[in-house]
Amino acid sequence: MRQRILWYVGGAIALGFLQKLLFDRLLVFGAKPDAMLLLAVWIARREGQSFGTTAGFVIGLLMDLLHGTMGLDAFAKTVSGFVAGFFSNPDDLEKVSNFLIATAFAALFGTSAYELVSTALQAPFFKWTLSAVATSLYNLPFAYLFFEGTKRFT
């Protein structure tokens, strides 16, 4: 278990820098590929909801250090990790469809949480809905690539 946690931490740091240096620049309609979200979903499906929620929080904190606003990403990724935990059925671990659905829901709820907190509940409904749906859809192709790339670790 300890070795797995070390792998997760190492992966989180590497993906964090990849996110900051590359993915943050691929912004489309307010949505961007979220490598850290994919990692949180991957961990939550594999380890369960409690571990996923914790992993989401830690991953979010890491992103907060890189992005700027302390607490915002931690909040969003905690929600994403928690939501992804509902898809942690061991029988579905090797199903790509399950991973994509988990990613879509985690992105939808995580982005909604992010938008609602970052705008202090002031954002118009359509604005955060658009952002949440766009993020959710935009991440699906990346989720597929991520799943295929990490298949042998599943």
Binding site: T69, M70, G71, L72, A74, T78, S118
Partner: protein
């Protein structure tokens, strides 16, 4: 009792964790301006800046052709500007002699590269490779040859974070060059080339194409720095204020170099403002 506790902790631990982590996150968000969190962020900025700088140098090497073309264009513009400035300087000197005024001391500026940019629909940020060891302090204005780019909001020894004009938390008081109307330039997301000019009464006339300059009473910037030009005005019968679109002076899509105005922020004024905010 113990069985009940075990039952709750075992069966509902994911919900307990969710609530606890969300509360911690919100607590961090609310207290993000505390010195401890600033220190942690400063350290992470320093670490990330150290990693980002070599990558930026690599990118800069391959971008030299485009950069050279842009510099040639800027050089041509500046040459024309210098000719105009020389004429204006001669005229200015004559007027100054008449008024017996001393020439103002040029402000100290620190050149810096933009080494990182955080892209966000509303809260863009930049990191520059000048920090507290270079005399950069929180609250200082950041400029380019075109005008105001933003202000420093966080520093580490070798790097600083800039809150640019294209950040929805940024506001700057401006005055229109000809009509001398006072307003506030604010960017609320979307197009990074335009912002809004707020608080101009519907009854007052402001001209399209008029330049907007920083005011004497800005909390961080010196006066008369260009911020943008009025691009479109709109007034409806029911509004007290005009809706004014401003084309920003600085092109943030190609921003790579900036100057930090090393004029120290007026601490007394800022403290007074802070006290007033507390008072409210």
């Amino acid at each position: 009792m113990r069985q009940l506790l075990d039952f709750i902790i075992y069966d509902f631990r994911q919900y307990i964790l969710l609530v606890v982590f969300c509360l911690i996150s919100l607590a961090l968000l609310v207290n993000r301006d505390t010195p401890a969190l600033h220190a942690i962020r400063g350290a992470s900025v320093e670490l990330f800046g150290a990693i980002e700088t070599p990558l930026k140098t690599w990118n800069r090497y391959f971008g030299l052709i485009d950069e050279n073309a842009a510099l040639l264009a800027t050089n041509a513009e500046l040459s024309a500007e210098v000719s105009r400035m020389r004429t204006a300087q001669i005229e200015n000197e004559k007027l100054r002699e008449l008024l017996n005024c001393k020439a103002e001391t040029p402000r100290a500026l620190r050149f810096a590269h933009v080494v990182d940019r955080t892209f966000h629909p509303e809260r863009n940020l930049f990191m520059i490779d000048a920090g507290s060891q270079d005399g950069v302090e929180v609250g200082m204005a950041v400029l380019t040859d075109k005008g105001l780019a933003g202000r420093i909001i966080l520093t580490s020894p070798h790097f600083a974070i800039v809150q640019p004009v294209i950040n929805s938390d940024f506001k700057v008081s401006v005055v229109s060059e000809k009509t001398r109307l006072l307003g506030v330039v604010h960017w609320s997301g979307g197009d990074i080339e335009t912002a809004q000019l707020l608080h101009i009464p519907a009854s007052r006339k402001i001209e399209v194409g008029e330049r907007l300059l920083t005011t004497e009473f800005s909390s961080f910037a010196n006066a008369n720095i260009p911020v943008g030009t009025v691009e479109q005005t709109e007034t409806s019968d029911n509004d007290l204020f005009q809706r004014i679109r401003v084309r920003l002076s600085v092109d943030f899509s190609t921003l790579e170099h900036v100057f930090v105005d090393l004029t120290k922020p007026n601490v007394e004024q800022n403290q007074l403002r802070a006290r007033y905010r507390e008072f409210q």
